[in-house]
């Protein structure tokens, strides 16, 4: 008996106790305690059923921000600012905003990847190391597209389209990267050339480089196609005045023309200077446009005194031109002004050559239309205004006006090309059928309507 008891697994004494007397007071107190416990339970249950509304609701937070839908115009602005601040990676900017890039870049058998965009903050992501070059040419935006061959996975064409703000900058960047021996095709609205596996084109404010992976025929065909697509798809702008002077009037090689928006000929003060090479020795004309005769004369003076004389010695003067002989290269340089235009020559082999050549330039430059120069000057001061805030108030204002106009025109130019996709996409496969079926669908859907509004 005792052993069973001893070996019970659990407690052996149970409720056993030894008291002999019980008390009703205890029961009463006990009942009060039980009542308190019940009240506690009720309180806990009540608390549970009444949560803090803030704890689980997030709506109020969001709706604080704007209980209405963000107006679509605003959203567009946000989206633009976002896609600017974002790198290509974020899907939004990658896949929807083509910007001014013409459609139909891919030919049969090639396909186009989404357009990636980079602004000056993110440019390094794409072309780390080279961005300083494009920034010196007033870089605004880079559109990057890659074409790949559907069959040959290794064949591709990478297209970089730089928006450099002005045609002068675009040409400048172009001429800086152009190999010395190419002969570009030039029209009134642009300039382009095809290299072995590359195509370069300047059209308006855009400078486009397309580099293929190799020199095979298909790639070349694509490059040729790209040249026409960009020539047609981007609005051209007439070439700067210096091209008129050098190419149209003097008959020089457009492939030799250079442009430096600043620090021209390594002179800190020299801005917006066009140069053209005359011969193998590196003799160059240089020209710059200024607002009026007085400033032109002053600038010409500056070229001589602050520029060339720093590197050489005076070598006489005639006809108002102070010739300078370079101390190291033994070449001759001279600068003068014609109306609002500064003209000059440097690295001439000898004084005679210099005198003759500059004379020719001078007489030709006289014939330049005044309006052309004024436009050029306006464009220059505008792009300077962007760079330096301390530029003269008057011209600064003018600059920002011009800027706005410019932006506007780009916008107008970008939008239609986006809408133009239909005809542009004619080359893509599967399109022919869509004509009939799609036409009934072309009325804007309510959603689409809203977007346009």
């Amino acid at each position: 008996m005792a052993s069973r008891k001893q070996d019970r697994i659990f407690n052996q004494t149970g409720w056993r106790h030894y008291r002999r007397r019980y008390s009703l007071t205890e029961v009463r107190i006990g009942l009060i305690i039980l009542l308190v416990l019940m009240l506690t339970a009720v309180w806990v249950a009540w608390r549970g059923a009444n949560p803090d509304p803030e704890l689980f609701s997030v709506e109020s937070v969001l709706l604080d921000k704007g209980s209405e839908w963000t107006p679509l115009e605003d959203r567009k602005a946000i989206s633009e600012s976002l896609s600017g601040s974002r790198a290509s990676g974020s899907a939004s900017s990658r896949s929807q905003d083509r910007g001014p890039v013409p459609t139909g870049l891919a030919t049969e058998g090639w396909s186009e990847r989404p357009v990636a965009q980079f602004d000056s903050d993110t440019l390094y992501e794409k072309i780390n190391g080279r961005e300083g070059y494009y920034k010196s040419f007033g870089f605004k935006r880079l559109y990057y597209i890659s074409l790949s061959n559907d069959k040959d996975e290794t064949a591709a064409v990478d297209i970089e389209m730089y928006d450099l703000g002005t045609v002068a900058n675009a040409l400048g960047a172009y001429s800086g990267e152009r190999p010395p021996d190419v002969k570009p095709e030039i029209s009134d609205a642009g300039i382009s050339h095809l290299a072995r596996n590359a195509m370069f084109i300047v059209r308006g404010r855009y400078y486009v480089r397309a580099i293929g992976t190799d020199e095979t025929e298909p790639i070349k065909a694509v490059l040729e196609h790209l040249r026409t697509r960009f020539a047609d798809g981007l609005t051209g702008e007439s070439l700067p005045w210096a091209y008129t002077l050098f190419v149209a009037q003097l008959g020089l090689d457009p492939g030799k023309i250079g442009y430096a928006p600043e620090n021209a000929l390594s002179f800190g003060f020299a801005r917006h200077v066009y140069t053209v090479e005359l011969n193998e020795d590196g003799t160059e004309y240089f020209v710059a446009a200024t607002p009026d005769e007085k400033s032109a004369a002053a600038l010409a003076e500056q070229f001589t005194t602050e520029g060339f004389l720093g590197l050489g010695t005076a070598a006489g003067s005639d006809g108002g031109i102070d010739w300078v002989k370079d101390r190291y290269l033994d070449t001759v340089a001279g600068t003068t002004s014609v109306g609002p235009v500064v003209v000059g020559i440097h690295r001439a082999p000898d004084l005679n050559f210099a005198r003759e050549a500059l004379d020719k330039l001078k007489t030709t430059a006289v014939g330049l239309p005044r309006a052309l120069i004024e436009r050029a000057v306006a464009a220059q001061s505008e792009s300077d205004g962007e760079k330096a805030d301390d530029y003269g108030g008057d011209s600064g204002e003018k600059a920002s006006d011009g800027q706005a106009g410019e932006e506007g025109s780009v916008e107008a130019e970008g939008e239609p090309s986006y809408d133009d996709e239909e005809p542009g996409g004619a080359g893509s496969p599967g399109e022919p059928e869509s004509g009939a079926a799609g036409s009934s669908y072309d009325e804007p859907s309510p959603g689409a309507e809203e977007i346009e509004r």
């Binding site: 989206s79 939004s92 893509s428 859907s445 309510p446 809203e450």
Partner: protein, 382 residues
């Protein structure tokens, strides 16, 4: 511990008292009298008792030995044998499940359009109209059906942010399905973020329960390995099986979303939420995976919920600025066609090349990526 000796002495006391007791059966060793106390007849009795005890003990020992030998040495096919000569038997065995051969699709109809588009603002009417445009709910749901509805509840976002299915649309769909006589509607998804939080925050939990559906949240025991014949990557992959147990119809309801990697997440990508396991490896070939998803699940029909369009920053969004109203709901039996419609019409990317998974899935004969080539019916409501 000090009470140990006391206990022992107590034990002794008790065992003595036990021998005194005539009722106690001599069942233990202690109860057997020691040999020195006996002589003569007693000795014989003692020997007998001893022999009996020996036989008993020998029998138990032999039985245990034989049992152990049987279980470990008998050939594996014999009963009660647990022999495993090459280690194969001990490996865990996974049940591999399959979905029905033809998926959950109903018979194709010659007359009903493939795409049913409804435009407007009244979500209830749009859901009905869209389904009516592809033949009406009666074509798809029969009395007694058990229907799984798969919304996209991937993220813990409120509905207005467009990262998840619109709960109002879901609710309308559940009501329509129940009105067609379905026995049970199950709402299931395996979100990326914490399931409880995702279902609650997105409003899907409330919408589903209010409309009378059953909610299935993933737990570690909800998944079984699913065999998808012909799939590139997910031929055998953990599948959110629990809601599918006994179900015979599947409806997908997906929002229209931009996606950072696969560019667009719509009805096809929506099946992603039915898989478990190491989904974070899917991104290494997302297009291949999505076309596998299309192969894995052929739904009864899908609803593309264009009431809101997350047109950028997808798939998570997070700002109202990423969302615009789409005022469109599309029903379809072809996930590729409806997705290509969404790409052109709702995401507004007409003219851009479709993401690669479309072509991959089309190549497998899982649908048409050109919605213009399929029959379509559109209604304006509300």
């Amino acid at each position: 511990m000090s009470d140990q000796p006391k206990n022992q002495s107590g034990e002794n006391r008790r065992s003595k008292s036990r021998t005194d007791s005539p009722v106690e059966a001599p069942s233990s060793v202690q109860a057997v009298p020691s040999a020195s106390e006996y002589t003569g007849d007693d000795e014989r009795q003692y020997t007998l008792a001893n022999r009996r005890r020996f036989l008993k003990q020998a029998g138990v020992a032999a039985g245990l030995a034989a049992g152990a030998a049987w279980t470990s040495l008998a050939p594996p096919s014999w009963p009660l044998s647990i022999r495993d000569p090459d280690g194969e038997r001990g490996k865990p065995k996974k049940d591999i499940l399959r979905l029905p051969e033809t998926g959950f699709a109903v018979d194709a109809s010659a007359t009903a359009p493939v795409l049913g588009v409804a435009r407007g603002n009244d979500v209830d009417a749009m859901v009905r109209a869209a389904i009516d445009n592809i033949g009406g709910i009666g074509r798809f749901i029969r009395r007694g059906d058990v229907v799984v509805i798969k919304p996209n509840v991937a993220f813990e976002r409120v509905a207005v942010l467009g990262a998840t299915s619109n709960p109002e649309v879901l609710q309308a769909l559940i009501r329509v399905v129940l009105s067609a006589g379905a026995d049970e509607v199950r709402v299931a998804d395996n979100p990326i973020e914490s399931p409880e939080a995702c279902f609650a925050r997105s409003g899907i939990r409330k919408a589903a329960l209010d409309a009378g559906a059953r909610l299935f949240l993933p737990t570690s025991g909800s998944f079984e390995t699913l065999h998808v014949p012909g799939a590139t990557w997910i031929e055998n992959w953990p599948f959110f099986w629990r809601p599918f147990r006994g179900a015979n119809k599947v409806i997908g309801i997906a929002p229209v979303k931009d996606h950072n990697l696969c560019r667009a997440s719509m009805t096809t990508k929506n099946w992603y939420g039915l898989l478990g396991g190491r989904r974070n490896q899917f991104h290494q070939d997302i297009h291949g995976i999505i076309s596998d998803l299309a192969l894995m699940l052929r739904p009864t029909f899908v609803l593309l919920d264009g009431s809101r369009v997350l047109f950028r920053s997808g798939p998570t969004g997070g700002s109202l600025a990423d969302v615009r109203p789409g005022q469109t709901i599309v029903a379809s039996t072809d996930t590729l066609a409806v997705d290509s419609f969404g790409w052109d019409d709702l995401l507004g990317r007409k003219g851009e090349e479709l993401p690669a998974y479309f072509a991959k899935a089309e190549k497998r004969g899982l649908g048409t990526t050109d919605w213009r080539s399929v029959s379509i019916k559109e209604t304006q409501v509300g």
